[in-house]
């Protein structure tokens, strides 16, 4: 019996995923409430990207169900309501910033004005006519973020968007994520930097393909009797079955 998708932005029930012959996610369940900024924290190789790919409908699933925005149906309508930013910038390197964003705008039925607005949002107005190959890594990843923002998705899923960015830029991105959450967008942001926990409304701690903890930073630190996310993670990782 499939559980009703309910009102959550994301509802994962007993999700199992195999990749390359091994089980990456094993009967994982979680719910992400709407309109919140949720951090998916865990080390490299913990299954964050696989979970993210499952949520956006890019991953072959062995068993279990994933519902987004109240539906199990990953049709064009649902896909148009999800924004997905892959870990490596996935835009056309030989096109300009503007050409990239106009194309991705066209795919979700947004107009050229929407593309221009996004260029300003991600702070690339001066680089709008520059081809992506000529941009720095940080600028290229902002083009990739912009490509997911066009069309105002209700659910924005970002795979390690702040990795390798300078601290100033990282701060700016978190400010942007906060603004989007305030405007009603649900955001799931993965990171292996535990310090970023303080930026989020809720946290999902992930390790070895399982969810270690699911709650606010305060709830998790209180539960573990620790002071910060890093210590809480270590405490949870040390004590099996504590989640």
């Amino acid at each position: 019996m499939v559980k009703s998708p309910g009102h959550a932005a994301v509802q994962v029930v007993n999700l199992t995923v195999d990749r390359g012959g091994s089980t990456v996610l094993d009967s994982l369940s979680l719910e992400i409430p709407r309109g919140e900024l949720v951090g998916l924290l865990g080390p490299s190789g913990s299954g964050k990207s696989t979970l993210i790919r499952s949520i956006v409908g890019s991953q072959v699933i062995k068993s279990g169900t994933v519902a987004v925005l109240g539906t199990h149906d990953y049709g064009p309508t649902t896909r148009g309501r999800i924004g997905y930013v892959t870990q490596a910038p996935s835009v056309y390197a030989d096109l300009t910033v503007r050409e990239n964003l106009r194309y991705f705008a066209a795919l979700v039925g947004a107009d050229r004005e929407a593309a221009e607005a996004i260029i300003a949002t991600v702070g690339l107005t001066e680089q709008a006519s520059t081809t992506v190959t000529m941009l720095s890594g940080g600028q290229a990843s902002r083009v990739s973020l912009g490509a997911a923002l066009v069309g105002d998705p209700e659910l924005l899923v970002l795979d390690e968007p702040t990795v390798g960015l300078d601290p100033v830029l990282r701060g700016e991105l978190w400010t942007l994520f906060r603004e989007l959450a305030k405007a009603g967008t649900t955001l799931l942001v993965s990171s292996h930097v535990m310090d970023e926990a303080t930026r989020c409304d809720r946290l999902l701690f992930m390790r070895n393909g399982a969810i270690l903890a699911d709650g606010t930073l305060r709830e998790i630190t209180t539960l573990t009797g620790t002071d910060d996310a890093e210590a809480a993670f270590l405490a949870l990782a040390a004590g099996p079955g504590e989640s």
């Binding site: 490596a88 390197a93 030989d94 194309y103 039925g109 081809t131």
Partner: protein, 248 residues
């Protein structure tokens, strides 16, 4: 499939190609240079009864160049789309699988047609290629060869996971067709098994059509045109069918 998304994708592919001037130059000039080489090679040679050799040979070989080039360009470009992560993004978006494949087919189909028309114009106008049949019919077959290369490239690229594999798809898919197409030995003189095999290879029909044109039977090419069109549509359908929204 949504025409708006297909056209947006085709426009994007053409925009990318426009940035790559060297590829455009190679696409347009290379077939002309190769045909010129062939023409020069046979400039002093005639057949047993004194007829020029370049005319039949040039007409039969001509279609091969657009087919080869478009196959390689198409399969490498779509592979690049997958390795750069943009295909995963497209497949996670509302874009249909057919929009992606047909967008590519439309963009490269336009390129292939321009390439084929330039080639036919040059070969007939400058190298003086003379066939009994109509020139427009020759142009039609050469355009279909280019479109076939595009469609086969789209279908084959889904089987390749690396650039090395993609490049080797060309000899694997095109060269057997070349050998068995009737270019080296009339198909009805081959061992029966190979003749039957050549019946299911699209290039055989292109060569059959050219053979009709060489003897002036312009009206006889329509069955071959229909078969070639069928192969093009079939290869595109295969390209759509093998594209996956979800990957392991």
């Amino acid at each position: 499939m949504t025409p708006r998304l297909t056209i947006a994708t085709a426009a994007r592919v053409l925009r990318q190609l426009r940035r790559d001037r060297r590829t455009i130059a190679l696409l347009l000039m290379l077939p002309l240079l190769l045909l010129t080489l062939l023409w020069w090679m046979f400039i002093d040679t005639t057949g047993p009864s004194g007829e020029p050799i370049f005319d039949p040979l040039g007409a039969r070989l001509m279609g091969l160049f657009p087919m080869l080039l478009m196959f390689v360009i198409t399969s490498v470009t779509t592979l690049r789309e997958r390795t750069s992560g943009t295909m995963e993004r497209l497949m996670a978006s509302p874009t249909g699988k057919a929009d992606v494949v047909l967008g590519y087919a439309l963009a490269f189909g336009i390129v292939a047609s321009v390439q084929a028309l330039v080639l036919v114009g040059f070969t007939v106008g400058v190298l003086d290629l003379d066939i009994q049949g109509a020139t427009w019919a020759l142009a039609l077959i050469i355009v279909l060869d280019g479109l076939l290369g595009t469609a086969l490239g789209l279908a084959a690229s889904s089987l390749a996971t690396t650039e090395f594999q993609a490049v080797q798809m060309m000899p694997a898919v095109i060269l057997p067709q070349l050998l068995l197409s009737g270019l080296f030995l009339a198909r009805n003189q081959m061992p029966r098994v190979l003749e039957v095999f050549s019946d299911v290879l699209p290039l055989s029909y292109a060569i059959d059509a050219i053979n009709h044109l060489l003897v002036g039977d312009t009206g006889e090419i329509w069955p071959q045109v229909a078969v070639l069109t069928g192969f093009i549509v079939g290869a595109l359908a295969l390209g759509v069918a093998t594209l996956r929204r979800r990957t392991p």
